[in-house]
């Protein structure tokens, strides 16, 4: 075929792919059409890959076939076998691989061209891709409890980061002045980017993970976008920018839900500085038998899940209890805080897995005005997102964070292992309120005990 025509077909294919990605993202934002949206987006990816294979630059099919086969097998197995509770770490891994791939693509671009513009794009892609790759690795470690989920802080951390950043800028300038695929400055840039990725995510604690995950998601898009600039490929630029923008929006939503700036999440280990008012008082424990009596009489019940529900894998028994209550005529809802769990929408996915219909899940702003009409609010493994100190105690590290106002409900059950403070290390005055009852123990066992009471 005429090479000019071929190029035209390939670019036409890229336009089709871009349209499919855009439609896919649009449909992904409505529950009813989301699945179709994802399929359209996958079709777009198929078109993009298929027309790329027409390129005349591609002569070595064996390498491609072997590598695609390896990647596909890993991808299929991972997506099928990994439990849904492990979804945050899986998203982190996929993010990291995308960033790593963009880093490598940009590196290879230097073998084709060492034009100044290419060199700058390569540096951008390698830095963003490297930070994404290494940062996602650390995020995976924290989410899968290989690494501690507490913020890791060391003295002079900011000094080290600043120094590394200066080294990075220096190497980048020297590299761009004399670009080459085997330049020592290039190796230094890769090394520093990886170290920066590790050092930026290490100090971030478990509860801030929703912000980090969506930020890394944004980075993986931006890395692809920069790689597209390096190899002069429009579909990479468009898709990468779309993902980058989407990730930034999501990151912003997460930050707002914690009333913190992105800089605050990234640069200050949570709970390290401020000291909240110590809460003194007497918590009121309750047995499953007594809790059953209260629940049985309730006309409206709302469940407020947190990361603890994911850890205890309690979503199925929660739904079972919810259904039992509904069958008795109670109005049952689930109140979801935007940053509950370890990634955006974490609780929604877990409850969907347990067959809870999504229209029964209420967002924080929808449930709060109605909270005073709720008979029983059942808090399952959530802590900071229901802590009234965020509203009342201006000395508290979480002061100003919007919370689900469970304390306004007539009765609050808190399912918890002990009275220990939440992730942020802040005491929770909710536990000592007159209308709060503590149901101590493993969330799954406590709810199972309640279900047994209902069935007897």
């Amino acid at each position: 075929m005429n090479p000019l025509h071929l190029k035209l077909y390939i670019n036409a294919g890229y336009i089709v792919a871009a349209v499919l990605f855009i439609l896919g993202l649009k449909l992904l934002s409505k529950p009813k059409t989301a699945r179709t949206g994802n399929l359209l987006s996958a079709l777009g990816m198929f078109v993009a890959v298929a027309v790329t294979l027409l390129s005349q630059e591609i002569v070595d099919w064996r390498t491609i076939l072997i590598c695609v086969a390896i990647g596909s097998v890993i991808g299929v197995l991972a997506s099928r076998l990994v439990a849904l509770t492990a979804m945050p770490q899986m998203v982190a891994v996929f993010n990291g691989l995308g960033g790593g791939a963009s880093l490598l693509v940009a590196w290879v671009a230097l073998f084709g061209s060492t034009h100044r513009f290419v060199a700058i794009a390569v540096v951008l892609s390698i830095v963003i891709g490297g930070v994404t790759f290494a940062g996602s690795g650390v995020a995976w470690g924290k989410l899968s409890a290989v690494l501690t989920s507490k913020p890791v802080l060391f003295l002079s951390q900011r000094f080290v980061n600043a120094a590394l950043f200066l080294v990075l800028i220096g190497c980048a300038v020297l590299f761009v002045l004399e670009p080459a695929p085997t330049s020592y400055f290039l190796y230094a840039i890769i090394g520093v980017a990886l170290i920066l990725g590790i050092l930026t995510v290490l100090p971030i604690g478990g509860a801030d993970m929703p912000v980090v995950i969506s930020l890394l998601n944004s980075y993986s898009g931006l890395a692809a976008c920069a790689a597209g600039l390096a190899i002069n490929n429009v579909i990479l630029i468009v898709s990468g920018a779309l993902v980058g923008a989407a990730g930034i929006i999501l990151t912003n939503i997460m930050c707002k839900a914690m009333n913190r700036s992105l800089a605050n999440v990234l640069f200050s280990g949570f709970g390290a500085q401020k000291t909240a008012t110590k809460v003194v008082g007497q918590a009121n424990p309750i047995t499953p038998e007594d809790a059953y009596l209260i629940l049985e009489a309730a006309n409206s019940v709302t469940f407020v899940p947190g990361y603890g529900m994911a850890v205890a894998q309690a979503q199925h028994v929660v739904h079972e209890l919810g259904t039992l209550l509904e069958n008795r005529g109670a109005d049952v809802t689930y109140a979801i805080h935007p940053v509950a769990g370890r990634m955006p929408g974490h609780m929604n996915v877990l409850l969907a897995e347990a067959n809870v219909p999504y229209d029964q899940l209420l967002e924080m702003d929808d449930i709060n005005p109605k909270m005073n009409t709720i008979d029983v609010a059942v808090v399952i493994g959530a802590n900071d997102v229901v802590n009234p100190a965020a509203r009342e105690d201006d000395g508290s590290p979480i002061y100003g964070m919007p919370i689900i106002n469970v304390d306004a409900a007539k009765t609050v059950f808190v399912l918890k292992r002990s009275l220990a403070s939440g992730f942020s290390g802040v005491d929770n005055p909710l536990f000592f309120n007159a209308n709060t009852r503590m149901l101590f123990g493993d969330a799954k066992q406590s709810i199972s005990a309640l279900i047994t009471e209902f069935k007897d």
Binding site: N38, M45, I58, V105, F111
Partner: protein, 101 residues
Amino acid sequence: MEVVLLALILVLAIFLGFELISKVPATLHTPLMSGANAISGITLVGALLAAGTGSATPALATWLGAGAVIFATVNVVGGYLVTDRMLGLFKQRAKPTDKEK
């Protein structure tokens, strides 16, 4: 000119991304994120071009490209499948009135 054109495309795509995502219900945050992540696997296109050049480039380039293809393929295949798996779980409350329609 070429650079200006690429920059224009970049800026427009960013604005489009902001517009598309600004109103997403919280329920869909995770699938949206993993679906968007699968799209960022588009770097696979670049990886294929990098890995397939054969003897036209040094062996190092082919090896780097091969690694990129594996990484990006996992990202694409895994990302789309896991998003589909999650979305398959999302159900609306069964309403008898809907069935009658």
